[in-house]
Amino acid sequence: MKRATQATETPQVGRSVPRLESWLKVTGRAEYVHNLRLPGMLYGKIFRSTVAHGRIKRIDTAAAQALAGVYRVITSKEIIQLIAEPYFGPAFHDQPILAIDKVRYVGEPVAVVLASDPHVAEEAVHLITAEYEELPAVYGEVEAMTSKAIVHDVLRPAGTFPDLKHLKDRKNTNLALDFHLRRGDAAKAMKNAARVFEHTFTTQQVMHTPLEPLVSVAESTESSLTIHTASQSPSFVRIEIARLLGWPENRVRVRVPFLGGGFGAKLYIKLEALVSVLSLLTKRPVKVSLTMEEQFFTITKHASTFRIKSGVAPDGRIVARECEVWWNGGAYADIGPRVTQKSGFTAPGPYDIEHVAVDSYSLYTNLPPAGALRGFGIPQLVWAYEGHTDLMARELGIDPIEFRRRNLLREGRPQATGTVMKDAATEKVLERISALLDWGKPFDRGTGTVKKGRGIAIGFKACVSPTTSLAAVNVNADGSCIVYCSTADMGQGSDTAMAQIAGEVLHMAAESITVVHSDTDVTPYDMATLGSRSLFHMGNAVKLAAEDARNKLDVLRKELNLAADCPVSDIFKKKYGMQAGNVTGAGSYIPAYKSPDANGLTDNATPFWMVGGSGVEVEVDTETGKVRVTRLVNVADVGTPINPKIVETQISGAAIMQLGFTLHEKMEFDAQGQLRNASFAEYKIPGLLDLPGTMVNEAVMAEQKSGPFGGKGVGESGTFGVSPAIANAIHDAVGVRLTSLPLKAEDIWEKLK
């Protein structure tokens, strides 16, 4: 592979540097945990619950244990001998490593078979039987508010988040967090409004579907543990495993090579606690790699119900808004309570509304757990508020873009929390979508059985806060450079971006910089790779670390009486008499933040805003209800793009993923909580033939002044507008409004009949 010359005056930021790892990936040499085999390694295969809610009466593992080649069968009985309270989770310590006493969803891990041959382990899993005393179950998020079926007997908040502490030891509830925001007097303003509109929207449970399924390997000694894992949050894994074992952090090492996609599925603890205890119990390395299909039973995206109500003044300005959102968290909270709050406070949308009330509820149900998925709840909210916006514009007889212009939340105006909008290009995004769709020009409405329509939608997101990133930048004696950071490159191109940021500071070609992947023995702490936070937080940390290294080199130059522009290698040669030594710069970044008060208000809710919107043109077949997206434009405010090509592919990737959630994907459960389509023959993600005829993906000219070189996150913004823009376009084409995702052709046909 050709490497560019190291020292350069060419700007590194703003250049479409090809991915640093692309050569390794296309030649099959990039490191993935799936390829890791350790001497003496055992493979674990998971036996899962067949009932949605039940007390475990008996688990019979004798036949499995007796199968030739089986090393051992493990249930929670063995685990509690090692860890008395083997429950994990970022918000609640509610999830057992293997089910204890109770199972709470179909597919929950109950036992594990270990064998040197994974096929033998799998065969033995079929020989395990379990008996359950079935309990009443609850599946719907709204139903869970009042259901007599209670998923957890006692609530166990983890203690990390102050707004969950009051839930400790609560009984007889499925509520894992209720977030409330009150600004002004929404009820009164609603009464005085000229028009009032109310709608309810729902979204379905879907899955991340990374092409690399979840996988972890653990190896142990009596006093140390190394976990090789496809994780987006190595620092969290280390802290949580250390807590479970009662060990100091330095005895747990977490290594993360490349990830084959993450999208939020690989956060917090997934298989890491399981492989750790299996390795400690057997004193052998243990690997658990899920099949694609097992991922349905591991982590998913929240289904949701959103009731939204607005009061509008005679001039078409929205004066009051009430939002009630119910999030279906499944059997274990995972990061659901944070989705409920962090996304909840943006539920009123990017509109300037004086009187706002938000109630956002996180619910336990007897379905597979839900967590973070590309957007962290925002796509569910935008789906509702942008459908609502369009319906109001229609009723009021105002052009939908004009209606949005009239109400848009602009720079310098306070958002629902009271935090003032800063560096959030809502106007530019809206106007650019309008321009790309030629909104002002006449539109062909189609003929015969093919009707055409168009629609737009715009959403925004507050970056999760407060979170911390640390980085180190090492300059070697020959002037070459290594960046150490725990950001996981899961395909989003973070290695390349970090190298560009360090290269910009140190005047080095990004291609010549090495980025060391997460290894908690080596790379500094990072909260996690999630929520589009890394480019901003880790980018700032890398920038600070590179500046620190550069300053140290400048000090050395002065001390050694070297010219300010002398090559780096001369500094070390003069100081150490040969090519020796190095300089390490450190950077740490945590933005300012203020917790919301009792009314959910704060003047500093987030370090930066993400804005994303979409415009679509569709054709609807009036005889079948089939929808074809002929044009999809996605526009986002990403600050100043660090790598324009990667920015474009992040926007398009996010939009295509959301296209699948809009038109095809849905986990279909029966009345017993059994997933009816747990295979990729029956759960369809979009393929190449499903792409829109034309697709445009753009970042508007913008700058995030607090971001590294004006940049900020881009991983999720492309998801925001896609679903409501398509529903709005369908409405425009054939007059049919759907309020549930996915947008099924059959439902459109039903309404057209």
């Binding site: 079929h126 089939k626 038109l663 023959a681 993600i685 979009p686 393929g687 033939l689 059959e746 046909w749």
Partner: protein
């Protein structure tokens, strides 16, 4: 998936002998079989590959004679097929995806008897026959007679060796399907139409096997199954629309 033996016989006699064992099944492309084995639905001890039996040739002498082990992409790209039976090449282009077509075989696609598949209705409408080899000799059967129900064929322990398709000539033909989720989804309905003195119409996916109907009016009498792709009522509507469109396309088909 449980470990299994893979046998690769070179003659049909050897293949039959190997298939006589308990837990043995023939293996052609394996695209359906492997999924069922991975899911634990089928637990087999021996797979008998039919790959080395010389059943992968396409011959066109008026009639198109296709070896059962011909892959779908070989069929799709065959110049004889494109010239004489272009409707087959067109249908194959939207059959699953290129990775599946590169390994799945014509014989397997017929024997599997999943009503959602594209070739059974199309080849039935084309009046195709299968040549079947049994332990006691050979017989020939119309493709539509292969099916006894959902995932049920009438082969017994015999093997399809060839498919024979009569000349299409200048007759118009079309195959249309409707997927209701992604483009590469299993279809909710399939409709094959071959015009001529005797118009042949077959519907699939909505029914438990490829089913011949006389004309549009015969749709009302069909037993239609609802599933994750659509309710029975919706599939009935799709059939009505796609049948009319398929007839139009067949009328306009030129080759």
């Amino acid at each position: 998936m449980a470990p299994f033996d893979l046998a690769q016989p070179r003659t049909l006699e050897e293949a039959f002998a190997l298939l006589d064992a308990e837990g043995a099944r023939p293996l052609s492309g394996g695209t359906a079989l492997m999924l069922m084995m991975k899911a634990g639905v089928l637990r087999l001890e021996r797979l008998v590959s039919l790959r080395n039996l010389g059943l992968d040739r396409i011959e066109a002498h008026g009639t198109l004679r296709i070896g059962a082990m011909t892959t779908l992409s070989t069929l799709e790209r065959s110049p004889e097929v494109r010239k004489g039976w272009p409707v087959i090449a067109r249908a194959l282009r939207t059959l699953s995806n290129v990775r599946v077509r590169n390994v799945a075989t014509v014989g397997g696609a017929l024997a599997h008897a999943d009503p959602h598949m594209d070739l059974p209705p199309l080849l039935s409408a084309l009046g195709a026959k299968v040549v079947i080899q049994g332990r006691n000799g050979e017989r020939t059967m119309a493709v539509e007679d292969l099916y006894a129900g959902y995932l049920e064929n009438t082969l017994g322990k015999d093997l399809i060796t060839h498919v024979e398709i009569p000349p299409l000539g200048k007759r118009g033909a079309a195959y249309l399907k409707c997927t209701t989720r992604s483009a590469d989804d299993w279809p909710a309905v399939g409709v094959a139409v071959v015009l001529g003195e005797e118009t042949r119409i077959f519907v699939s996916a909505a029914t438990d096997r490829p089913t011949r109907i006389a004309d549009e009016n015969a749709l009302t009498g069909l037993k239609i199954e609802g599933d994750l792709h659509g309710s029975a009522a919706y599939k009935r509507q799709l059939l009505k629309v796609y049948l009319r469109r398929a007839i139009d396309e067949a009328r306009n088909a030129s080759h």
